[in-house]
């Protein structure tokens, strides 16, 4: 029974990882761009929510009304002002600029919030759970996170396949140059994609802060989890990213069940095994 429990909790944890990974997956899908600072932006969202709750006493979930639009705007500005300048055939500028951002952001957060470990208190939601069968209970918060991940991906699919913006984003993903010839403004489209990704980053950050302890240094590890989920699931496929997140969560929880020191290690090993046998991921939709 404890193994079934580990797997079920792993699936729910996978929901959080899918939230981490969705922004990364989306930005790569649209502009073939990998943001090394992705994990640090998640932690910034967590600290933003933390600051808001401690200043105003509002519920952690309510902070999303402020944090998500602010991060989306910041994402748009960051793409327009800085990241767009790094795009091109050379892979060095985007990697090194966002790597620099990652180090700068971590240390700015360290100065602003110290290295103390924090957590967003969400009252009754934190401990609420219900028993499915004897020996297996599901926490309300982990379930909520998982359902939000599904809802976010479902909504994004609706945006991609049902709206004008989505059509532009998909067209850009297929052929940037032609979309430009058709009169679209690539700089704006890229920034829209980053804004949407940052909106999801905000959701991921707030839920991370409610589920686990966080401090300024844990961003890079979240980037690695997000990256693993994207690669395992297959590039350019958001449902695949959800599957990748779930597989990663289950692998980590099975590892933790064997020995607490194996949790993250098992996730990495599953990722390495996937690139050994299927480097394009389980459900790829676009080519790297």
């Amino acid at each position: 029974m404890e193994w079934i429990n580990a797997i079920v909790q792993g699936v729910l944890l996978g929901g959080l990882y899918a939230l981490f990974a969705t922004g990364l997956s989306l930005m790569f899908g649209v502009m073939r761009f990998v943001n090394i600072a992705h994990g640090d932006f998640i932690i910034i969202a967590a600290f933003a929510a933390f600051t808001l709750t401690s200043l105003t006493g509002m519920h952690p979930l309510a902070t999303l009304i402020v944090v998500a639009p602010v991060l989306a705007l910041a994402g748009y500005a960051n793409q327009r002002l800085i990241l767009n300048r790094t795009l091109g055939k050379d892979i060095l500028p985007p990697l090194l600029v966002t790597f620099g951002m990652s180090v700068v952001l971590q240390n700015l957060m360290l100065e602003a919030f110290t290295a103390d470990s924090r957590r967003l208190q969400s009252g009754a939601l934190e401990t609420a759970s219900f028993q499915v069968i004897d020996g297996l209970s599901i926490g309300v918060l982990p379930l909520l996170v998982f359902l939000v991940a599904v809802a976010v991906i479902w909504s994004l699919q609706r945006v991609f396949y049902g709206t004008g913006v989505g059509r532009l984003l998909r067209a850009t993903s297929d052929d940037q140059t032609t979309v430009k010839l058709m009169g679209a403004n690539n700089a704006h489209i890229f920034a829209i994609a980053t804004a949407i990704a940052s909106f999801v980053v905000a959701i991921a950050g707030v839920f991370l802060a409610m589920r686990t302890n966080f401090d300024p240094s844990i961003g890079p590890a979240r980037l690695l989890f997000a990256f693993e989920a994207v690669i395992i699931g297959g590039l350019g496929n958001l449902w695949g990213t959800l599957a990748g997140g779930i597989l990663l969560g289950v692998a980590q929880n099975i590892g933790a069940q064997i020995d607490p020191g194996f949790q993250v290690l098992f996730g990495h090993l599953v990722f390495l095994a996937i690139i050994a046998v299927r480097p394009e991921g389980l459900f790829p939709r676009i080519k790297a």
Partner: protein
């Protein structure tokens, strides 16, 4: 290529530049001067210089990967860590002399790089960069599980092994210093000759156009893979040297992404990626900044990261790239240059 007109008397293809001819004797004198440091430098200065030397090697290797082979990696700390741990495994469990263990560490890192590289090369571009990071983290977590090596808290090098390096503290420090100097000079010379060889020509061809170079018989995969193995070998030796100086190792210190990759990336980017001189300048800039900003704590890293971002956006060739372009300098030239002016206008002799 079949046009023989450039073979007219007066036209010449050369690699040496005027400044490289002047610089060579100066560099040799500098190396001799540095080699004599145990007789003129203080203890603290020598420790600092060892640190500068090993960062120079790490920077040269990262630049060889990213600047010449197009392999941007955020995972080279894997080989620093493996090299460091091989020093401890080799000396404590296999009874190898510490200096021999430095070479053993390099060989072990290169051997581990074979399957690692084959796996990572399945990922392209940015995915290779982060995949390499995942692999380094995997090694860190595995070493943290080995209780014989102290697990997560690590271990110290036993005193009898420290004593076996050389007799007396100053002799030991001199040996570590010479090893570091040897690795630093060796890595610069090795990269210089590597890039001037057929191998370097292949790398340049791949960088300029991978498909076209393939049609001319350059095996891009094999060329890059070889560079990856060479970098792992040298980085592994450097890792052993680093922990020969520190005398204590732990998984977090051995596989630190900040210490062994972030700093190194900043050095190479600021100094000038894709040149041999760039990493040298970058290391100097890094340590000069550090002397000034020693008490700034995290503000130092914020400054360094910001400078690296600005350099990448505004002057992607770094300090040396700017200097070289502005004044047409090349101290360690690896490119062939064609001198046509003497043909076009025999009365004028100038250089481009």
């Amino acid at each position: 290529m079949t046009d023989m007109s450039v073979e007219k008397p007066g036209a010449s293809v050369s690699r040496a530049t005027r400044e490289s001819k002047i610089a060579l004797p100066i560099l040799i004198v500098l190396v001799v001067f540095l080699a004599a440091a145990p007789w003129w430098a203080g203890r603290a200065d020598m420790r600092l210089m060892v640190e500068i030397f090993y960062y120079l090697v790490l920077a040269q290797m990262w630049n060889l990967l990213a600047g010449y082979a197009g392999l941007v990696s955020i995972g080279q700390q894997a080989y620093v860590g493996i090299g460091g741990y091989m020093l401890f495994i080799g000396t404590v469990f296999l009874g190898v002399h510490p200096l021999a263990a430095v070479i053993v560490a390099g060989v072990a890192a290169a051997i581990l790089a074979l399957p690692s590289g084959a796996l990572l090369f399945r990922l392209r571009g940015p995915y290779f960069a982060i995949g390499a990071w995942v692999l380094a983290e995997t090694f860190r977590l595995i070493f943290a599980q080995v209780s014989a090596l102290g697990g997560g808290s690590g271990m110290s090098l036993p005193t009898d092994i420290v004593r076996s390096i050389a007799d007396g503290r100053s002799a030991r420090e001199a040996v570590v210093y010479w090893t570091a100097l040897g690795l630093a000079v060796g890595s610069v010379v090795a990269v210089y000759y590597l890039l001037r060889s057929r191998f370097g020509l292949a790398l340049t061809a791949i960088r300029d156009n991978e498909e076209a170079s393939g049609s001319l018989g350059v095996n891009a995969w094999m060329t890059k893979f070889s560079i990856y193995i060479i970098a792992a070998f040298v980085t592994g030796m450097t890792g052993a040297l680093i922990f020969l100086q520190k005398l204590r190792i732990s998984p977090d210190a051995a596989f630190s992404v900040n210490d062994w990759t972030a700093f190194v990336i900043f050095m190479v980017v600021i100094g000038g990626i894709g040149t041999i001189e760039g990493p040298i300048i970058g290391v100097i800039v890094f340590f000069v900044l550090r002397e000034f900003a020693a008490d700034w704590g995290s503000w130092y890293l914020i400054l360094l990261g910001t400078v690296a971002i600005v350099v990448m956006l505004k002057a992607p060739k770094g300090v040396w790239g700017y200097v070289a372009e502005r004044w047409g300098l090349s101290i360690l030239p690896v490119a062939r240059r064609l001198d046509l002016n003497s043909v076009l206008d025999p009365s004028r002799k100038s250089r481009h």
